[in-house]
């Protein structure tokens, strides 16, 4: 009998509980004696706190500030750097910065109290946009240039190439803020058990939360226990941001001694949470007289907001993906993360790659227009191949099958015929994009920083428990990991369990980010399961563990950013067809086709769900998710009536295919894919709209009113 392929779908482990409404999320729990809390936040983008005038607090109500930090604790939340404060102290850097936490038994009273607080500020002049940040409007507040980081990577000598070029094409592409809109807002309950602090929290990375608050509380890691609660969506928005809730809550619990809940309402979650980095990418592309690309000088700037958080790492990923899936002979990429007085930008599915991938795709279309050829013809000439040199002077190690994937998408979409018959400006257009996503942490991060571990425990009852810190947030990880373990052990699926992690019980398998969990943690569990299988006949309990081992032969220097930034990539091709209403400029999407290389899918239905969801989020990013920010008011579109995400009516059913391309170091040949599927549809959409209206589009999002403006005034 032939074994069923690993990818054959099984029912997700969490499907029935979630569909029947028995699954509990953070705000569904009640704790004995639980108090509620509300954050009090800065209402100015930059300034000094002159006075905080409090209304009288009734008995049993508290206002917690930096003054309540335990002795020896530091006013910091330790993310990648230690620059992010738990509470504003003296000055404020952005609208929404935490000043204090109101705590008490009745939420109505807390709301009234919050409205009664009057904070006086000496206001400074804030910078909001990338340009204002670079110009140090109001004076720099980070170093003397408002830059969190500024670095350049060279492949060959771009100055020589530009000097000798037959012609140089310049371009500038911009992308806006994007809000995650995980349907479950940010939520946590902190409490004390004996002398330990417990945080129950909707989050991606329980060990990140623990690390971020240990210095604040002046406690060793073991004294802080983080329990992930079933997480109703995250997309990066619950990577570092839960730290912002955990810090003040713990300081409050330390003082008050009772469980305290903090749940954001939708408006708070929209106005006062992290977002995707806005970006500005500039190109100077050198062409020879036959229209060949000789080199590109690429300048990338991300708006990081008021604190660094993970912006340096986000920017690195952006820079390393700046040439897209193309091998350009000579490149220079400069990256800067500029400080502004906006809510800090942070992780969001794709983690810096979507911005530069969008930019290169759009720029390639513009180059094709300059050369008078179909964008697809130009792009195909430069496709990455195995062995090609990357922008970091490393290698493409994958067997790249973009041509096969393109073939699938061409056949499904009828691209060739449609591209030929839909005339520019006819109101009809089809566009196509290519993209990739480097798997797991950049460079040797898995080896040097994360050092992931995974543990399996066959209990006395014969059930095998997966003990890792990786989390289910909707992406299907629970099912994927349990499937890998059950398959290796050759036991029934229901003999493998995987509960939400508790940092006091599980191995630190690293954060649930960077599309690394199936590929890296899944591989560790595969190894732990193989060992357990060998010992299966032993009586009683068995515990097996595996630790990350970096494959040999993929050099990387983190100080110079030289070498293999990623051992492997996931790859994607997406085509989008649109029709634009000549009067309203409303864009109707007629079709969406894609092909992805995720190595080998661990579960085809889970992968399909990720593809469809990621592509719709990417189309929303380009088409409708407009988010403005002003110096006086902060983010403007903060509720779901203003910040518009796709509904079931906005985009048609998709056609998605996969190619089989096993990755030797992944479990069953699997690679990462959760972010890949976000990285390309926005560019295909913009390519299609640009052709339909015969206008180059250099900035997203592009809701109808923006498109109308653009067509009136030109790009």
């Amino acid at each position: 009998m032939r074994e069923t392929p690993i990818g054959t779908p099984i029912r997700r482990l969490d499907a029935i509980s979630k569909a029947s409404g028995t699954q509990m999320y953070l705000s569904d729990y009640r704790f004995d004696g639980m108090l509620y809390s509300r954050m009090v936040r800065s209402t100015v983008a930059r300034g000094r706190i002159a006075a905080i005038n409090m209304p009288p607090l009734p008995d049993g109500y508290y206002f917690i500030t930096h003054k309540d930090i335990p002795e020896g604790g530091v006013n910091e939340l330790y993310m990648i750097k230690k620059d992010y404060r738990c509470f504003a102290e003296g000055d404020v850097r952005y609208i929404g910065e935490t000043i204090g936490l109101l705590v008490g038994p009745d939420r109505g009273v807390l709301l009234d109290l919050e409205q009664g607080i009057v904070i006086e500020y000496e206001e400074g002049v804030p910078s909001i946009s990338i340009e204002e940040g670079l110009a140090c409007k109001g004076g720099p507040f980070v170093g003397d240039r408002n830059l969190f980081c500024d670095f350049t990577i060279d492949k060959g000598n771009i100055d020589e190439v530009l000097a000798k070029a037959y012609r140089v094409v310049e371009d500038e592409i911009n992308t806006g803020w994007q809000e995650h809109v995980h349907l479950e807002t940010n939520a946590a309950v902190a409490e004390k058990e004996g002398d330990k602090f417990i945080i129950n929290i909707s989050c991606q990375c329980p060990f990140y939360v623990r690390k971020s608050v240990a210095g604040l509380m002046n406690r060793p890691f073991e004294d802080i226990i983080v329990r992930q609660t079933t997480t109703g969506g995250a997309f990066g928005g619950k990577e570092h941001f839960p730290d912002i809730l955990a810090g003040p809550l713990l300081v409050a619990v330390n003082k008050i001694g009772k469980p305290i809940q903090l749940v954001f309402d939708r408006h708070e979650d929209g106005a006062f949470s992290v977002k995707r980095h806005p970006s500005r990418t500039r190109f100077k592309t050198a062409l020879d007289k036959d229209g060949n690309i000789l080199g590109m000088d690429i300048d990338v700037v991300y708006n990081a907001g008021a604190y660094e958080s993970c912006s340096y790492v986000v920017l690195q990923r952006g820079v390393f993906h700046a040439a897209g899936v193309y091998t350009i002979p000579v490149t220079r990429v400069r990256g800067r993360a500029v400080a502004t007085n906006t809510f800090p930008s942070d992780a969001f599915r794709g983690f810096g790659a979507p911005q530069t991938l969008f930019a290169i795709e759009v720029h390639m279309c513009h180059l094709a227009n300059e050369l008078g050829i179909d964008p697809l013809e130009l792009k195909k000439r430069y496709f990455n191949k195995k062995g090609d040199i990357t922008v970091t002077n490393g290698h493409i190690n994958d067997t790249v099958v973009l041509s096969e994937m393109l073939q699938q998408v061409m056949e499904a979409s009828g691209y060739a015929q449609k591209a030929a018959t839909y005339k520019p400006g006819s109101g009809k257009g089809i566009g196509i994009s290519f993209y990739n996503h480097g798997g797991a942490f950049t460079g040797n991060g898995e080896q040097m920083i994360i050092k992931a571990k995974a543990k399996l425990h066959r209990r006395a009852d014969g059930i095998v428990a997966i003990l890792v810190g990786s989390t289910e947030m909707g992406q299907g990880l629970q099912t994927a990991l349990a499937k890998i373990v059950a398959r290796v052990l050759d036991v029934d699926q229901d003999r493998v369990v995987y509960d939400n992690p508790d940092t006091s019980c599980v191995a630190d398998s690293g954060p649930t980010v960077a599309s690394r969990s199936t590929m890296i943690v899944g591989k560790l569990l595969e190894r732990a399961a193989l060992e357990m299988k060998e010992r299966w006949e032993e009586p009683g309990e068995i515990i097996t563990q595996a630790e990350y081992q970096h494959p040999e032969g993929y050099p990387w220097d983190q100080s110079t950013f030289q070498g293999d930034a990623y051992i492997t990539y996931g790859w994607g091709v997406c085509a989008v067809e649109v029709e634009v209403d000549p009067l309203t400029r409303e864009v109707i999407t007629k079709g969406v086709w894609s092909s992805h290389d995720v190595g080998v899918p661990i579960d085809e239905l889970v992968v399909k769900g990720q593809i469809h969801g990621g592509i719709i989020q990417s189309l929303g990013y380009a088409a409708m998710e407009k988010l403005e920010n002003t110096a006086k008011k902060g983010f403007k579109q903060v509720g779901l009536s203003d910040y518009i995400i796709p509904t079931s009516m906005d985009f048609p059913a998709q056609t998605a295919t996969l190619v089989h391309n096993p990755y030797p170091y992944g479990p069953f040949g699997a690679k990462g894919m959760g972010e890949l599927v976000f990285n390309g549809a926005s560019a295909a959409f913009i390519d299609a709209v640009s052709r339909a209206v015969d206008t180059e589009i250099r900035s997203i999002p592009i809701p109808p009113e923006t498109l109308t403006e653009l067509m009136k005034h030109g790009a």
Binding site: I16, S20, G613, S648
Partner: protein, 158 residues
Amino acid sequence: MVREIQFRLNGKDVSVICDPLKRLLDVLREDLGMVGTKEACGEGECGACSVLRDGAIVTTCMIPMGAVQGCEITTIEGLRETERGKCLIEAFADGGAVQCGFCIPGMVIAAESLLASNPHPTNEQIRHGISGNLCRCTGYDLIVDSIRLASERGNGLW
């Protein structure tokens, strides 16, 4: 201010004493401990808080208790006990409709409301039927497929 409000909840008579302006959502989740109904926006935009009132889908974050007097309310806790509810839940699980799950109880309610009036909807009609329910994870396709699967499997249930 407070008054007694009587209604039927999942087939049982209930009476609560509260401000008639209090949201049905809060009464369900907090006073009655029925937390299967979720809150994701609080302003009638997302559908996560959907229940059936006299068979019609409503968003409970927008319904004051005064508007519930004498009505028949069905929540996910009630629906899941019925043959139709079970059929829908199984189809959602088999069709891959569920990711983070936060929108899903509301989606199941929307699917019930749709199939009750149109037992064999087209894909377009399904899309229309769930257009008041936002999902950020799935891109909707697998939810649509799952509702079609329920409609096929549940021949005669609706």
